[in-house]
Amino acid sequence: MSTSATIATPIVSRAAGFSRADFESFLKSRREPNWLVARRQAAFDTYEQKLSEPLSPEEYKRVDLRAFQPARFAVGAAAPAPAQFETLLEKRAEFGGAVSHLDGHCVVARLDEKLAGRGVLFGSLAELLQTKRDLLEPHLMSRAVRADADRFAAWHAAFCTGGTVLYVPKNVAVEAPLYSLIGLSAAGAADFSHTLVILEDGASATLLEETGSATPANAGLHVGAVELLVGAGANLRYVQLQNWNQQVWHLGHQAGRVARDASLQWTVGGIGARLAHIHQEVTLDGPGASGEVNGVTFATNRQLLSYYTQQTHKAPSTRSDLLYKDVLRDEARVVWRGMIRVDPDAQKTDGYQRNDSLLLSADCRADAIPGLEIEADDVRCTHGATAGRVDAEQIFYCMCRGLSRYEAMHMIVEGFFHGVYDRIAVEAVRETLSHAVKRKLGIDR
């Protein structure tokens, strides 16, 4: 038997768009200070080195990137023409500030004057890195997302196009939520945006971020990073609602660090994208720190939405609680690989993770792989995963009450997601997620 296999080209090739020559011309177009250029160059070297190494099978084994062709995408040098976005969140609440990026360029940056007067910074990362370097540089890609984490983190660090920064000084409470939009418009546009949130000790804030496409058909690429740095006793609520069209490739490395007695409530919504892979880490660094992660995912057609989550307990008496709920239809695929890590010192840890999948068709597939790695001996760590079809008896019950099969199905999907909506403290986010799900089901336009 002969097996002269011709193996496909490497997953991320050095093809046009992101070669060294492209990187050099990207650098020229940005005209940035030397320290930033040096950081990018180091990241590009790491990226090239990581390209020659295989991706971690534990994280990427189930993420089929064979059809991914980075050469189809490029970072646009000039800001694109303004585009209309049908946003889900923007109109649902009174925001204290808003930052919008389109194809990697900052187009709106607004902050309530009172908040600015109290020392809050909220705006474009590309701009603030130059004007507030002392404040931001020590935090950027040093504690949460590191450029050498993997190939995609390095790629992001080299080509980072900007992003949203939120900085809240010590003991300042930002009551009104803040809004950030990451938009893709032109065909083949690439966005490498970075969200950096720094809450000093005792501060509190809520940031609602959404991603969206201006058209239903233009393919795009997002290689993003999110860093959430929560100081002692601070309280952050962060939401990222991924609502691209179904032609976008989304690769995100997201990490939160939570200090003593601080809390982070983090909600991710996965509605759009052709393929999305999110690496999400919550690290509890100080005693009494708490992290809650909520995930709402609805995948249809041929979408592949993948999550790799880590809850790391580094200090005693820390609490983490993760709940992801996925609904799948058509030939969609959802992958969730979760891990709770407990360091030897993190006694009295309370860790929980759970993933529930509801399968609406015969051809969809959900992979849920929870995991625990515990090095302390006095902890409470539990996990669970369920997957199942819609119960025929529930449908029958609803139909006996006069609903059509279609309505019954949708009611059951809504009910399924309610378990996670109930945990989300921000009403606008609950409403938005519910609306996005209904819209995707085709019952509310």
Binding site: T3, A5, T6, R62, D64
Partner: protein, 103 residues
Amino acid sequence: MSDFQKVATLDEISAGGRKSVVFDDRAVLVLRIGNDVYAVEDVCSHDGQPLTEGPVVGTAIECPRHGARFDVRNGRPLCMPAVEPIATYEVKIEGNDILLRGR
């Protein structure tokens, strides 16, 4: 039904050889067995991983991990642990070109 699209040429694939291609945004494995060319979805229906380097015996391809076998002519599973079929594609040869179309 979409039109036939060229994905490879005959001289790229020796007899008994194979080539991984992307067709219709999916990973597809083109196999040359004797004088015939077949194209199957390059994903095992059991574990969702590639079949790319699986051995071919007759007209069956075997998954390199758990040993599931599929008939490359119609995608049917031939043994455990696979119970679901894999997709296959219609193949047309025009001169030296290999063209595919979804079924």
